[in-house]
Assembly symmetry: C2
Homo-oligomer: 412 residues x 2
């Protein structure tokens, strides 16, 4: 008799984005005129096309796949050497971070990587996450059986929630009770906060002292404008012994529909067995990758490589400037609407504090109804997100300006 | 203190293909002249370029991604509706199988799917696999903690091995002791055997009686030439209540380096909770897919769709005819070398019985040294593969003919 994984039954049905979709659909069906002027600043999806250097690389790779002499079958599961080398050099060694080519694992997404990484970890780990948080960190731990049930507020037993508030700049501080695995996301989704060097040093120190593992999600690294903000956890001495870093081409090259990302697993990173031995995680992740994955499409890997060409880099810079320009417009619009705004300076997300007493979903419905704009309710990211909304800067400039105007016109 | 997944430490170090790679590399370094005439019939990787219909679809999709109006960001994680619809219609409903569009989950590989599927199953299942078997089924269960340690012969405790021999046509028969999850692969990798309708009926009957789950891997479905052989498990009445089917575009469209596949999870398929309730697996797989995966690249999904166009279908047919033509040449060559040959009629693999007393690895070394041909030792697929070798038909016709000539010239 086949058994299912009971842990899945603990998952809350109302996952954030499906619920948003449901409400938007109902609104549009009831209000066709308003639906026509709907602007979406909800999901964090890019809107601008792939950079020309990427398009050219894709066409070239497609032609290679169409000719016997240059056709590519199975590639290395962990990514082609030329892409791993370009990543390690450009994103790390050129910035003074010690990352070897074979510590880079090319994948099809950071969402996938952060979930799949749990495969190589044991079930005894105490897991810490920020609150608010990217829901995937939570849900994948629930599925893996690392939590108990959720309470009425949606918080899962056995997970350690680290509150993020204005007082800590929305970057969590280490908890009093020891934890084994900590998810850090900087620049942060959803709050748009970027961890300072000092904050990251605190976490690396904590991890080394407690022999804990940091899962550092830097999917929004390209949006860092403040020169004092580290781009990689490996800028912090000691991080190679306690941290895995996740990066994505989704939000710099606009690869949300093209699919390419990578994880860095340093060879010096260890975790312990049940019997207390310390062993390297790198061989486990290599084994996981070669056994449960078949590599990213060759043509997509060539597309990612093109992002590191001089043209590709310049084109990515323009994309980032475009979205950060939107963020500026939206920040100003939300501020004029007398919302207190955070984020949007080193990230494509604005985290706006609502007037006292207004819940995130109330604000969602009000903004949808009155401004015909879709944003994301902060409470969907955790209990400490209640009273906030996330506004995404992924849009055309004209739309961002229009959203700013509509937000300003609202009365709270 | 971070803990690792101890189950990974049970995995045997000498995974089949890395060991083949090691021996081939050593041979080539020691014998540069022989290396120059090396022909690889080892790994099951296609050699012919992508069909023209696919290349055209890829170029078109790349252009769409390069223009703002037609750019695609995140798609549905489970695949675009137009691809799911094309699959359900062409591969199933047109063949009389009852499969709905939303029972099709588009993925980046059957290797990934068969491993990931374990996420939604519980840990109490008794798992049955064929022997010989595609190693990924075994290794992913080891990683998930569904087995004990391996013995000296490489067999893992708690796995139920179902022997495949000439006497059962290399298709396993249900075991005496009840099992909960059974992997079936037809047409089979490595033996090239295809399960008859009667054999599949026996398994569906068993699964329904024991409320067990069949994981039916039909990645080589396109190679079926015998009109009596079912193309899908869903041709067997009752299969919708007990079977998940995996299909891939790797071996029909030549997508091994392009990456697209799919799984069919019928909504009528249930498994039980720890407390004995029966629940549908479809919502669990949907949740797993939306939470831990971000969908296949848009351009690759368009490429897969093109395989269902009239031109695409005709081009795939020619690819299959090419590889099956190779299989015929290789079967005849191996038979003339006085090996007893199986498979190669409904599959791109020939499974050749070695003369008595010759081990698989001895044959591997001998064929490498004397014929300068790389094959796969049967023992790498399980203890019942000892005394066999797998010869892959993925090659040019000229290479297949040359391999046949060289095999015939060998003395055993």
């Amino acid at each position: 008799m086949a058994y299912l994984n009971d842990h899945y039954l603990k998952l809350k049905a109302g996952y954030l984005f499906p619920e948003i979709g449901r409400r938007v659909k109902a609104f549009c069906e009831a209000n066709p005129a308003a639906a026509a002027r709907l602007i979406r600043c909800g999901i964090g999806d890019v809107t601008e096309p792939l950079p020309p250097a990427v398009v050219a690389a894709l066409h070239k790779a497609v032609d290679e796949m169409g000719a016997r002499e240059t056709f590519k079958g199975y590639g290395p599961e962990q990514g082609y050497e030329w892409l791993r080398a370009a990543i390690a050099k450009n994103d790390f060694r050129d910035r003074g971070c010690d990352v070897a080519d074979d510590e880079v694992f090319v994948s099809d997404g950071t969402k996938c990587d952060t979930g799949n990484l749990l495969d190589i970890l044991g079930h005894k780990n105490r897991i810490a996450i920020s609150d608010p948080v990217y829901p995937v960190y939570v849900d994948t731990n629930v599925m893996a059986g690392h939590t108990g049930d959720a309470n009425d507020a949606g918080a899962y037993a056995r997970l350690v929630y680290l509150p993020c508030r204005p007082s800590n700049g929305f970057i969590p501080t280490p908890p009093k009770r020891p934890v084994d695995v900590i998810y850090l996301c900087s620049p942060n989704n959803p709050t748009g906060a970027a961890a300072s060097r000092e904050q990251l040093e605190t976490w690396v120190k904590y991890a080394l002292e407690h022999k804990a593992l940091l899962l550092f999600d830097a999917a929004y690294e390209a949006y860092i404008t403040d020169p004092a903000v580290p781009h990689s956890i490996y800028e912090i001495p000691g991080a190679r012994d306690c941290a895995i870093e996740f990066r994505s081409f989704s939000k710099n090259g606009g690869f949300t529909g093209t699919r390419c990302a990578y994880a860095v697993v340093p060879k010096s990173l260890n975790a312990q067995t049940k019997s207390g031995e310390w062993k390297a995680l790198h061989p486990l992740w290599l084994r996981r990758t070669t056994t449960k994955f078949n590599g990213v499409s060759y043509i997509v890997q060539r597309a990612a490589e093109a992002l590191y060409s001089p043209e590709g880099k310049a084109q990515v810079r323009r994309l980032i400037e475009h979205y950060l320009g939107n963020a500026k417009v939206l920040r100003e619009g939300a501020a004029k609407a007398r919302l207190k705004v955070f984020g949007g300076l080193n990230a494509p997300y604005i985290w706006a504090k609502l007037p006292s007493g207004v819940t995130s979903w109330q604000a969602f419905d009000k903004i949808l109804n009155e401004a015909n704009v879709v944003i994301t309710p902060g409470s969907g990211f955790g209990s400490k997100g209640e009273g906030y909304v996330r506004i995404s800067a992924f849009n055309s400039r004209a739309n961002a300006e229009e959203v700013a105007r509509r937000l300003q016109a609202m009365k709270w």
